[in-house]
């Protein structure tokens, strides 16, 4: 079994650029260096202007006590980590953290499972499979404002079509958007629906890259459909799965529009995540609280950054 796997893994490694021996660089002449710098400059300027500076400003915002007056006229007092202390000791923080974890992990697990099932389903080419797969992409293509408003309308407790359906079959009708028990479930359902196509597309393209020889060989050896998926398809999909999950994680952590449009994080913070809480603090009240809002945003960045590090570590291990 193991011996059948090696030839598949090898070609990928053989084509890696590290194998190509580079010619020893000659000492460059001055104009060339300037040219190199000129090519580099736009990227550096772009990175500094659109990544480094905003990030720096956000950190600065979170370390000062901004009031309306000091925001406008400058001179906000430097208060160190006071905003972080305020945010961390706020009872909403624990709620928001828990909701973020449930929302993110719940979305990832269901999206990935459904996406994988659909990808395997569509990898068997049948009539109209291309068309069907294209139709599955619709949720991903719709503007979020459209899909979230549609979901909010469908899940409306009084006049929503979902409750009309539940009523027709005699099931209880939850107040999806206005009950603290159901609001997180409601936004979770909407987010899963939006995210499945993304998983489907990535996993499907991963499946295309697996040579059919391997599967055929295993089938000849007597492996059933489930065994082939479990021992061949799934392990070979691991790199694609990892990147799918990581991208999904970073994307889901910062999901904001769906929740804000459907429930505004309510009622009573029951669907507040770190992302919506940050917006709520900065822009949701009558008077903005930029300091604590920026602090929550920075905590979110740290979480996403840790997820990225985990991925890099995993990738390095896989390459060894």
């Amino acid at each position: 079994m193991a011996s059948t796997l090696t030839p598949v893994a090898d070609p990928a490694r053989a084509s890696a650029p590290s194998q190509v021996s580079a010619p020893r660089p000659r000492r460059r002449r001055r104009p060339e260096r300037w040219a190199a710098a000129a090519f580099l400059a736009p990227l550096v300027v772009y990175l500094v202007a659109f990544y480094a500076y905003p990030l720096y400003r956000n950190v600065e915002l979170s370390l000062r006590n901004y009031t309306v007056a000091s925001f406008v006229n400058g001179g906000a007092q430097f208060t160190g980590f006071d905003n972080y202390r305020t945010v961390l000791s706020d009872p909403v923080f624990v709620q928001a953290l828990w909701h973020t974890a449930v929302f993110t992990l719940g979305s990832l697990a269901v999206q990935f499972t459904l996406g994988m099932a659909l990808a395997v389903f569509f990898s068997a080419h049948f009539r109209l499979s291309g068309l069907l797969r294209a139709l599955f992409l619709v949720p991903w293509l719709l503007p979020l404002i459209v899909s979230s408003s549609t979901w909010a309308w469908m899940l409306n407790g009084q006049s929503g079509v979902v409750n009309a359906g539940l009523h027709a079959v005699g099931l209880p009708e939850p107040q999806w958007l206005s009950s603290p028990t159901w609001s997180l479930v409601a936004v979770l359902i909407a987010n899963i629906w939006i995210g499945v196509p993304f998983n489907l597309v990535l996993l499907h393209s991963g499946l295309q890259a697996i040579s059919s020889d391997v599967n055929e060989a295993a089938a000849l050896d007597g492996a059933g459909a489930w065994q082939r998926f479990r021992h061949i398809t799934f392990p070979l999909l691991r790199p694609v799965s990892a990147i799918t999950l990581l991208l999904g994680l970073v994307y889901t952590l910062k999901v904001f529009d769906i929740i804000w449009i459907m429930t505004r994080g309510g009622p009573s913070n029951s669907s507040t995540t770190l992302a919506t809480w940050s917006y709520q603090l900065s822009f949701g009240g009558l008077i903005p609280k930029f300091g604590p809002g920026a602090a929550v945003g920075n905590l979110l960045i740290v979480v996403a950054f840790l997820a990225g590090l985990l991925y890099l570590r995993y990738q390095r291990k896989a390459e060894l």
Partner: protein
Amino acid sequence: MSARVTSRGTAAGLLALALVTSLSACSNGSSDDSASGGEGSSSLTLWDPYPQFDESDAWPQLVQKCGEENGVTIERTGYDTTDLTNQVLRAAQQGNAPSVLVVDNPVVSTLADGGVLADNDTTGLDASGVEDNILAAGEVDGQTYGVPIGANTLALYYNKTVLSAAGVDPSTITDWDSLTDALQKVEDSGKNGITFSAIGTEEGSFQFLPWFWGSGAELTDLASSDAQSALSLWSGWVQQGLAPQTVISNNQQSAWEEFLTGDYGFVENGTWQLGPVKESGLDWGVIPIPGRDGGTAPAPTGGEFVTIPTQADTASYDKSAAVVQCLTSADNALETDTTLSYVSALADVQEQQVSADADLQPWVEAVSAARGRTSDGLGTDYPGISEQLWNAVQAALSGSQSPQAALEAAQQAAGSN
């Protein structure tokens, strides 16, 4: 070798960055010049919270007319109410605030306190003749900021068809008990009792305040037993099914749309729905919101102030002030307030409005009895208190906390701000 290349690359990158920065600084400078306007300037900017109007509507046309009368062209931009405050704060920070700002009255004191607005003595604006309870929202430390464009407030619209089918006579509704009885009768007749907006924004607090004040509670003590009785009234309605659960996520417009389905006995809504309700085809009426033990509950004053933000170039105040006076003058106020479906802030104009449309009479009375949200010395404390109040309303109505626990938590949070 590679280190040397890198350091050179960095140096070049920094040089390029410096270039770009200085370029953008130049363009900033030039745009600032044209925005603040020199001697020969003939353009003003005006921001308002009425994004629903376009150039063909009466309000933008009035803005243009007031510009032409004063020899300036006015560039008008409409923002969503919540967004407007943020936009103004950012613009003020960058030193390019609009020349004229139409802004919701409860944030005037906070903007004024933050130095965003110029007071009327500085700009030469005249707010005399405006009713005291309406002007109060624009007064901070003895200075007045801007002129109110008109006022609105809340009352209960009812559906005559639904009430008569349920055997309810609206004139018998004089206090909370008789109102709850009426809601129960409507519910028993197979319709819904009442809908309102308890959303977690300023709209939610605005809608709750008539009940809060009608119980005798004060915003300085959110946890009083009077306050608890008001919140218990609302959460009781939701628990007994007299009001739908959707009130928790309704804004005022969604609550209004529920009422328009014809399935509701009552809706709490504002002066601005007077035009729409006449076109709705419903058989409707209006009663004031009752106090707990009878009488009319004080409703909050709604409506905007036309203000002049602080400018580096104080010479521009003259033109701005002339435009603001034009927009709020008695001649134009009638037209403006009819457009917005507001009650005028000027007593003379109110009489004209009532003689033109008798349906406005109860609203004029309600506005003169209404209370400013930032009055009673609350001023810049109001936004923080209001946020805790709407949180408490949400917690109690969704059932996650008892009214008492929710209000005690709110008072504690508001007190620590």
